[in-house]
Assembly symmetry: C2
Homo-oligomer: 469 residues x 2
């Protein structure tokens, strides 16, 4: 059902305002109020919303909330309680089994030739080292390809340092893809060569000694070796010592990780609904993920997204009339460590997926939205165009009909349901992402309001327009 659309045309139309014919088409459907309400939702949000207060509350009163932790449970209680005071028609918890990996202690140091302490963190899911740690010579590679090409004789018993270089900083976050590869696969590729541990350069665009964690994966049948990320300055320092190393004076590293893989825990997708007045069985979904990594307070990843989604729901619930379709706000469990919340949602709502008439997830921080993408059928493109025109005064450009949807929307993408992207400016997102620095002070309240304005327009129109997505 999805096709590409000529987005420059939409941009041009956006510049001249709502295309009269298209708006007229909506008006013939008897919905002049639809667009007026959309404008009001947009403009009133810019005057100030509760979104910043919500993410402040979550980060101050809950803080770190990695899957399966006490914080995870506290976050579920927090979400449920907040929803219950917001005027929704239904609030419920849907169970999700989540992994429960715990970071207890992590230390590292260059031992030779020039001893220096290192700032590093275990990657999410890493096994522990022996209690006394591992100490070994360091072998450096600059890519996973180079790692795979190494002679095992030169790797056996050593620590592999995968340094693909510092992540590039861009508004779209486009440097993340290349930078993050070693995190997921490094240990699985190094272990068969006989490596005793893997170090990576953090997948982050900052210069802080706050290393970036994130999920890693082991491969079936391959030995599990410990894996940790060095902060960028520490990776630089290790690289500099390696630059000067010789066969006689190699670089040696000591790594100690104490981590625990506990049994799975029950968590929950936290869901609130505004029941549709005409087609309650049809669902427009706005989502985020409620879990965070353990190092920060999860302000930008993804407290901000949850605050945006919740506030959009609250504002639509406060309108004098319910929208045509059901609006469902979903705070997904465990996005970070395996997407089990998304999977559980897909399974619990398998027979309802076809009734999803649009979905968006806010999960790229708290920067202003600057781009809008859709993934809808051709017949719905005029409506997309009308939404794009409403978003343009917010500084948002329509960029085409190739939206990816957020990670938690994967079940809906797989079911070929319509999804949207409201791309946030991620220029600094990957400075703080998955680090201790993911804290409230990184969020500008006015940018949260702009996010609410943009998401409210999209969700409202999708839920109210006569011929939905």
């Amino acid at each position: 059902m999805v096709s590409r659309f000529c987005w420059p045309l939409i941009t041009v139309l956006g510049l001249v305002g709502l295309a009269p014919g298209l708006l007229g088409a909506q008006e013939e459907g008897g919905e002049p109020a639809l667009w007026q309400t959309a404008r009001e939702l947009r403009d009133q949000a810019l005057e100030g919303t509760e979104a910043y207060a919500l993410v402040r509350s979550l980060t101050v009163e809950v803080g770190p909330r990695s899957a399966g932790s006490a914080g995870d449970k506290a976050a579920v209680r927090w979400g449920q309680a907040k929803f219950q005071g917001m005027g929704f028609d239904a609030v419920r918890l849907e169970p999700v089994m989540v992994p429960h990996w715990e970071r207890r202690r992590e230390e590292g140091a260059i031992v030779a030739p020039y001893p220096q302490p290192m700032h590093l963190c275990a990657l999410g899911g890493s096994v522990a080292t022996p209690p006394e740690g591992v100490e070994a010579e360091v072998v450096r590679v600059d890519s996973l390809d180079a790692l795979e090409a190494l002679d095992p004789a030169g790797v056996a018993g050593k620590i592999v340092f995968i340094d693909v270089g510092k992540m590039e900083r861009t508004p779209a976050g486009s440097g993340y893809g290349p930078a993050v590869q070693p995190r997921g696969r490094g240990a699985a590729l190094a272990a068969p060569l006989g490596a005793v541990a893997v170090l990576i350069r953090s997948a982050g665009s900052d210069t802080n000694r706050t290393p970036h964690t994130g999920a890693m994966r082991y491969a079936d049948g391959v030995k599990k070796i410990p894996a940790a990320a060095l902060s960028n300055p520490d990776a630089d320092l290790l690289a500099a010592q390696l630059d000067g190393a010789t066969a006689e004076a190699p670089v040696r590293f000591r790594l100690l990780l104490d981590t625990v893989n506990h049994p799975e825990e029950e968590s929950h997708n936290v869901i609130a609904e505004i029941h549709g007045r005409e087609n309650p069985e049809e669902v427009v979904l706005i989502g985020c993920h409620l879990d965070s990594w353990d190092l920060g307070t999860g302000a930008i990843d993804d407290g901000a997204g949850c605050a945006i989604a919740m506030e959009v729901g609250r504002r639509i619930a406060a309108l004098p009339q319910r929208p045509r379709r059901t609006v469902r706000v979903v705070l997904f469990a465990n996005e970070e460590f395996g997407l089990s919340g998304a999977r559980a949602y897909g399974e619990a709502h398998a027979d309802q997926l076809a009734l999803h008439r649009g979905a968006v997830e806010a999960d790229l921080g708290a920067g202003r939205v600057y781009a809008f993408r859709s993934r809808v059928g051709d017949a719905q493109l005029p409506t997309v165009q009308a939404i794009a025109a409403l978003l343009q005064p917010l500084g948002i450009d329509y960029q085409g009909n190739d939206a990816g949807g957020g990670a938690d929307l994967r079940p809906l993408r797989q079911a070929e349901r319509p999804v949207f992207d409201l791309r946030q400016d991620a220029t600094y997102y990957f400075d703080w992402h998955h680090t201790a620095n993911d804290t409230l002070d990184k969020i500008e309240p006015a940018a949260m309001d702009q996010n609410v304005a943009a998401h409210a327009v999209l969700v409202w129109v999708a839920a109210e327009v006569a011929e939905g997505f």
Copy 2:
């Protein structure tokens, strides 16, 4: 001997180049080559120096080097070895007794109402907590005055949190003075009121969870209580929980510091000299401090300053002829924790202080120099003016005859000797100052070259001009 001078006049003269009459006066002294060499030193430095390589070497091969530590000793060896390859006429170590305080472990957490781990560091010199830590209710004040005004009945047994607000970020670093007061005096003021520990907001302009350490002082006869600095995001978080606290649900904090005050150690001022060809007993000093705090690798504080000073000396030593006066490069021991290197220098050279004919210290990071100040007698102001004219193409403005000199120049200031400031742009300096983030990546090589250019002009002219400072 020091007086104020009309600096706007100098600025105007600077704009039209070297005032011919003044330059003529120098030429009558037979020194046309003086100014030509000064220009060459300046311009050649801009083409590239060894300064960045020096600070890279120091941070990679030594790293943290707080007074009395193994790193301190390694740094002294490093400085001596580097100097010996640089063409100086003499290299020597002058003994300095330094304190030896060691940080071993530091942990903190908000225990109630919303438990969250905190990023904090012990202040330099702080005593340890009991091994199990201290846990107590938090009392907040927003100034030292407010602390002194507290009723002891409300403080006894509690942890005092002194939050004077986040340090303002300015090019001159002017926010530091107000922000740093609680660090030095907080514990001494809180202890008599019965407090069990003191927490301060870091004196730093950043938003990183990298707390800022620095020296604190106890008062004679007053109980020594532990003192730690929270990073700015952690101070924000604690403040936010305090904002919502009630008498029934107060904020409780757990602090554990393991620190050790070892016996004094011997360290050294590391000194290199170019012997003056005509007045070797007269000294022009360029200094820095070789010690750093323990958390970072001491790149900007003060590895950069040492690299600048050493490279300036190396370049002057490489000239075809020795300057008229002796140029002395001094890498001072222990600036950070009591200025014992400066004191030892003043004592060792007490009978020579009057022969110091100019001194400058580079100790405000690695930013470009943007301002020049002098502190000389009126008769020397024309020479200052000529130097200012040479510095102006580097983007450096003369700002008056009220230079402060660096902290290690205090004995020379007290002896009313001429001192100079080449003020570096400190816009970001206090983001990283005294934190783990004080690392090499914060330094731009070209800015180091500009620093060398500026300092070389000043030191060369002071050492060569016929009528010295």
